[in-house]
Point group: C2
Chain length 494, copies 2
């Protein structure tokens, strides 16, 4: 099946329709948004088998992995729909009038309202959870924004199928025409045209640094700049602290061999850099990790382009000064397969060579060997912004390395202790974000219902009579929302 | 008194010191931030008389106006300090572990942490409340960020005096060295150097569109782009709806004559455009407004540059096709005084000429005369983003003009009914922000304690033992904060 690129005229028509849908959708009660999102979830359940079949053909991902991602996507839609209705994200603030103040203080009530049509660019590596009906789309719908998805060309047919499920859900729940649109386009131009369109009010992107940064730049060059949340991946450093490593070198190695190679290393939270201090414990860790990696078979990557990029980036990294291969899978890779690889380098060389700080998207990780604590601190201070950082540490390790812990905290969006960064739980406490270049705005997350906040803005109503206020702000609190009233949180009526 | 521009070397030294201060300050408990901010407020009380004296000399603003702005600044510091300690802005989310889930769900806890050193550019028109110890500075300190203020050259001595008060407060409360810095510089280069410095992590700005947009562009061209919140003013349209205008033409005119000329029109919420439908009620309104304006004396503007710009922009606006002067003050303006002026134009001409949509900073407003409801709607649809919009309307007017009300809502950050936009209450429900070009990011406010959120980002702690977590996230909730625990808001221990 082949899809034609959308023309500028088609995009113009789509965006005007989105705008009209925005005017209608933003006025619908939260309950209606909830119904629409649950209907989407149901539609995705209805087409489970053919959907996973097609996705598996397009992405080379195993069906059980895809089915669990599909379930996650369904859960995500329902969970954000619940959060939408719970309404905490509305950040309602009410200050009642004080007429006898000088000058009199008016009644002011603030809540979040949607920004407008949101353009979403899905990820190649998560055809469901971070794509057409994925987190960005769910957040935008919860916020009250129509969505225009630019289908990822690597799984365009999967995307089309999911889009049809969304259209079906929209129809069943009587959503305004144009609440969702699905656009195909092979190159950058289609995306650029969408981001430049004056009716577009925000952008969600998951993918490469090059793609995410380019869209960010385009958005900032508009006459009216708009917010872009690009999640652009990272190397997710793992710091192996001495006491814990001594206690659990082999156990940690096993855990990481699995994490580095899960889904052929194609996770944006893949641990691409391991940092340890030379010595007996690190030798045991490396030996154990190497033994594990040798036994992990190469597997087919998402598409030939990604496999080719992996081969090139891996080769380039391995060709750098002082980089050595510690272990590769004992099996030869077939065409488009990613070869599990562990490399090593001294911290001295690592600190001198920023190329080694960059992501090699695939089943690859490099162990940076430090001379001592101080050099580990230097490495932490030289790393750029990350989605996650991890420490393998005892409580004592943490207490003994306070400045290091602070330095690591400062560069990451999620800080894991004695675990692996792969596996991004869908829950309100999740932060899937982080300092640049992990994302274009560290103040937001793209996973968890707080991701809704990317697509809303506050508005204050001053001196409005109760009868004309939105239900969310009315005195008797008909929706039973949590609201900050005169500086105190409450669900009571006023 | 004359101040020398900071050199690049001096700025480098200041920023390194700010960074060191950041590492120490962000670890201090909220109580310590509260103490520091209250000490700042006290210092500003201690120097009240000489401070208002100097500010009056530098800005030409009357002393009673300045004293009330000073008091507002003191209130603002205390109120944001209280909000800092109350901690709602930390957006704490806790999801406890579910070990028997497949795969096991780890314990994850999220809170806000400071971004790093914040560069603040104060406003010419509010030497206290939006300047050196103003809202941006208070928000940044509450967030846990050091502040570097670029003094406004129009009130550099006032700024220096306030800076010394901040230094004194920092010393008395044992704040880390470098928590605050004060930089002088006449031109754009000093500001640019500050924004480009790699240690700078966010920017707060209040002032002109040209200045705010230029800093936004500089920040986005950095290797590591950083968030800039520029509040750039607006024309704050006022829509006069028919039923209410008929009832209260004269009363509304009086209220607006005062609002348009308050502080010589030098408010970013000054109502620069009034929109009405032609007829007997609008004639009465215009006559009454004109009578009032004639009786309001010209007054000296903030500085000669602003007075000159007012003369030029006013002249240019009045020279446009179809623009007529309806009334000016009956008194001749002296040098550097702003002449209160009301102009009129037909909606036809207004819609054709975007120059008329732009701010004339000073005591000037233009009445746009529409043929009918539909043309008023057209005007609403043609306006850019605004800090505020106002309707003068009965409940019946609102119900009869639903699409118009929606269109107005869509372009503003604060929506006032039967009031004036001037007067920005310092409270949590305030939104002093709005769609571009009113600000560079409509998702934030610069007034009210929610302004803290501009300078923080979330971080998730995954799988950390209770003893190593920050107090904010510990099981027993020692700070008594509101937290969302497993999707429910609570102040209980876990």
């Amino acid at each position: 099946m082949k899809f034609t690129d959308a023309t500028t005229e088609e995009i113009n028509a789509v965006m005007e329709k989105s705008w009209d849908a925005f005017l209608a959708y933003r006025k619908l009660p939260l309950q209606r948004r909830w119904e629409f999102m649950y209907a989407m979830a149901n539609e995705l359940d209805n087409i489970a088998t053919p959907l996973v079949e097609i996705a598996s053909q397009e992405t080379n991902l195993p069906k059980d992995r895809l089915e669990s991602e599909r379930k996650r996507t369904v859960f995500q839609l329902k969970s954000y729909a619940d959060a939408c209705k719970r309404g905490d994200w509305l950040d309602i603030r009410i200050d009642t009038a004080i007429p006898d103040k000088t000058p009199p203080k008016p009644d002011i009530r603030k809540m979040m309202v949607p920004l407008g049509p949101v353009v979403v660019f899905g990820a190649s590596n998560f055809p469901f959870a971070y794509s057409t009906a994925g987190g960005d789309t769910a957040c935008a719908f919860a916020a009250g924004c129509p969505v225009i998805v630019k289908a990822h060309p690597a799984h365009a047919e999967t995307s089309e199928m999911v889009a049809n499920a969304i259209f079906a859900a929209a129809k069943k729940t009587h959503m305004p025409d144009g609440i969702f649109a699905h656009i195909h386009g092979e190159g950058f131009e289609t995306g650029k045209t969408l981001v430049l369109h004056p009716r577009t009010k925000a952008v969600g992107f998951t993918g490469s640094f090059a793609g995410g940064k380019a869209l960010f730049d385009v958005a900032n060059q508009r006459k009216e700049p708009i917010p872009v949340f690009s999640e652009m991946g990272s190397v997710n450093p793992v710091f192996l602290l001495p006491e814990k490593l001594k206690q659990s070198a082999e156990q940690t190695a096993k855990m990481y061999a699995a994490s580095i190679t899960a889904s052929v290393g194609q996770f944006c939270t893949n641990p691409g850099i391991l940092i340890g201090i030379k010595g007996e414990a690190l030798d045991r860790f490396l030996k154990s990790l190497s033994d594990e990696i040798k036994n992990i078979a190469p597997a087919t990557m998402l598409h030939p382009g990604i496999a080719k990029a992996f081969v090139e980036k891996r080769q380039k990294a391995l060709a750098q000064n002082g980089v050595h291969v510690a272990a590769v899978s004992s099996q030869q890779p077939q065409e488009n397969q990613g070869l599990p690889t562990i490399a090593t380098v001294s911290a001295d060389e690592f600190l001198k060579n920023v190329l080694l700080h960059q992501e090699v998207f695939g089943p690859y990780s490099i162990l940076v060997i430090c001379e001592n604590d101080q050099q580990m601190m230097e490495v932490a201070l030289h790393l750029e912004g990350q989605l996650t950082s991890t420490i393998i540490a005892t409580e004592n390790d943490v207490q003994q390395h306070e400045p290091l812990i602070e330095a690591i905290k400062n560069i990451c969006g999620r800080f894991i202790m004695n675990g692996v960064p792969t596996g991004v739980e869908v829950c309100l406490s999740m932060n899937h974000g982080g300092p640049y270049p992990a994302t274009t705005d560290s103040r937001f997350t793209s996973v968890g219902a707080d991701g809704i906040k990317r697509f809303v803005r506050p508005i204050s109503f001053q001196n409005w009579p109760d009868s004309l206020l939105p239900d969310e702000l009315k005195n008797d609190n008909p929706l039973g929302l949590w609201r900050t009233v005169n500086d105190s949180l409450s669900r009571e009526a006023i």
